[in-house]
């Protein structure tokens, strides 16, 4: 069993990886993002980014966390409906800027951290850049 195959078991996930478009996706229903970050850190995987996407019809925001494990691109999708998800910044320093950016773009609250302005300027309101205008 290679390292990739051990990850679902380490995370207590029954599902297997789904490879699509050169990304290995692991369904994350019921998973805590901090457990994923801890597992990735233990495997010395390199954090790449989080892609946030606002879903249509008020379904919330899809958050795709990406790590690189020996050249393999891993994707962990989380769907949040209440604009909140736990921060992984204290576990993964590389996530600092992208968490701040997503907070500013979508007004997502990363629980357990404070923010300094990244792209916004003093007095700007979070959520103005990429959220739908009618929200």
């Amino acid at each position: 069993m290679n390292t990739l195959e051990t990850i679902p078991e380490k995370l207590g996930v029954a599902d297997a990886w789904v490879e699509k478009g050169r990304v290995h996706w692991l369904p994350c229903d019921g998973l805590n993002v901090r457990d994923v970050a801890k597992t990735m850190a233990a495997l010395h995987a390199r954090f790449i980014t989080i892609t946030a996407t606002e879903l249509p019809d008020g379904e919330g925001i899809r958050m795709e966390y990406h790590w690189d494990l020996d050249g393999q691109l891993l994707g962990f999708p989380f769907q949040i409906s209440d604009n909140k998800i736990e921060s992984i910044y204290d576990l993964c320093e590389a996530a600092n800027w992208i968490e701040r950016e997503i907070h500013e773009y979508y007004d997502v609250n990363f629980i357990g951290r404070e923010y300094e302005l990244l792209f916004l300027r003093q007095g700007d309101k979070p959520g103005v850049n990429l959220r739908e205008e009618d929200e």
Binding site: R22, H66, G71, G75, F119
Partner: protein, 363 residues
């Protein structure tokens, strides 16, 4: 007693705006705080208002130096959604343009580094050489900056006479071997100015998730061309230079060695350029109809890994989401670790050593 020096947004070493608040005791930096966003253009949002042709031109404007890499990443993502595979000749041409772009980016950086070292002759020499790289790009694409080479399913322009381009590349390589490479690998002046400053340890490099020459200079041997090959890189032989010093000197050496590897790749790609079409059948503008889907693409830009994540809804003209993670975005936060403990006068060179692009970072 400590004091704070605001450096920027008009930067002493580079032509783009960002700000660094340096907290100093005497001449020693004890902390630093970065401020970006002065170049914010909302490109990710604008991308949602462009169709599949317009969005390529838009993404070419993310960066003025590595513009080709952004169109390549965007096209690879869209090809992933559409399940289109470019023909071999197009993949080789993509490699050729990408390596020429790496050459002109690294030579430009070498010039900026020369200027910051107080080595003005080197600056002039590098910029003259960079012009010649751009002459080659102009000969291929008709453009010196935004080449408009990539399209869905392949490339827009063929290389009609690879031997003529090869002759230009060989002349360029010869000149680099006699000028830039010896100065940056053996010159006592250049190396002593850079040795031991701006150190980023391997542990810090992994923690910050830095990429490209910045990572490779800290002993992290990652290169997307090798780890997850795209275009025609799996057909070509090249080494991934890695240094372990983690200082400005190591970053200098890695880029100098990468210039030679780019020449090696170019030589092979131009010699082995397969015959055939330059774009896939069924990839013409009128043939394109997107299904619902998301695709991700990674490429090794001159400054490191670029990642695009693109989503599309069926029958929509425009993407529903384009997320761009640029290399400087990953590398910039590590500046803080590099400047702590440095002398104030060393900080412009340290900042320049990651070859930062704020245009990319801000998008």
């Amino acid at each position: 007693m400590s004091y704070t020096i605001p450096m920027g947004p008009y930067h002493p070493g580079l032509e783009e705006p960002y700000k660094l608040d340096l907290v100093c005791e005497d001449e020693t930096v004890i902390d630093a705080k970065l401020h970006v966003g002065f170049n914010f253009r909302g490109i990710e949002h604008l991308a949602e208002t462009r169709n599949h042709v317009q969005v390529i031109a838009l993404m070419e404007r993310v960066c003025g130096i590595c513009s080709n890499i952004h169109t390549l990443s965007m096209c690879q993502s869209m090809e992933g959604i559409l399940d289109i595979a470019p023909p071999p000749r197009a993949l080789y041409i993509r490699v050729i343009v990408a390596e020429l772009e790496r050459l002109h980016s690294h030579v430009l950086w070498a010039g900026v580094a020369g200027k910051l070292m107080g080595f003005k002759t080197m600056f002039m020499r590098c910029f003259a050489l960079r012009e010649k790289v751009m002459d080659v790009l102009e000969a291929i694409s008709g453009n010196r900056v935004n080449y408009s080479m990539n399209r869905i399913g392949g490339v827009n322009r063929d290389i009609a006479d690879p031997s003529a381009v090869l002759a230009m590349v060989e002349a360029l390589e010869k000149e680099m071997v006699h000028t830039i490479i010896p100065v940056f690998t053996t010159s006592t002046t250049a190396l002593s100015r850079c040795a031991g400053i701006g150190v980023l340890t391997q542990e810090q490099a992994i923690s910050y998730g830095v990429v490209g020459p910045t990572a490779r200079a800290s002993g992290v041997p990652q290169d997307i061309r090798r780890a997850a090959p795209y275009a025609a890189y799996s057909d070509l032989e090249f080494d991934v230079p890695v240094e372990t010093g983690g200082d400005v000197r190591a970053r200098l050496l890695v880029r100098a060695l990468e210039i030679m590897q780019s020449c090696r790749i170019l030589h092979q790609a131009l010699t082995k350029l397969p015959s055939g079409p330059i774009h896939a059948e069924g990839s013409d503008e009128s043939d394109i109809a997107f299904p619902t889907g998301t695709a991700t693409s990674r490429v090794e830009a001159p400054r490191g890994e670029v990642m695009y994540s693109v989503s599309w809804e069926e029958d929509s003209d425009n993407p529903s989401r384009v997320h761009v993670r640029t290399p400087t975005y990953a590398n910039m936060p590590a500046i803080r670790a590099m400047v702590i403990g440095a002398q104030l006068a060393e900080t412009p060179l340290i900042q320049a050593s990651i070859d930062p692009c704020y245009s990319c970072t801000d998008r």
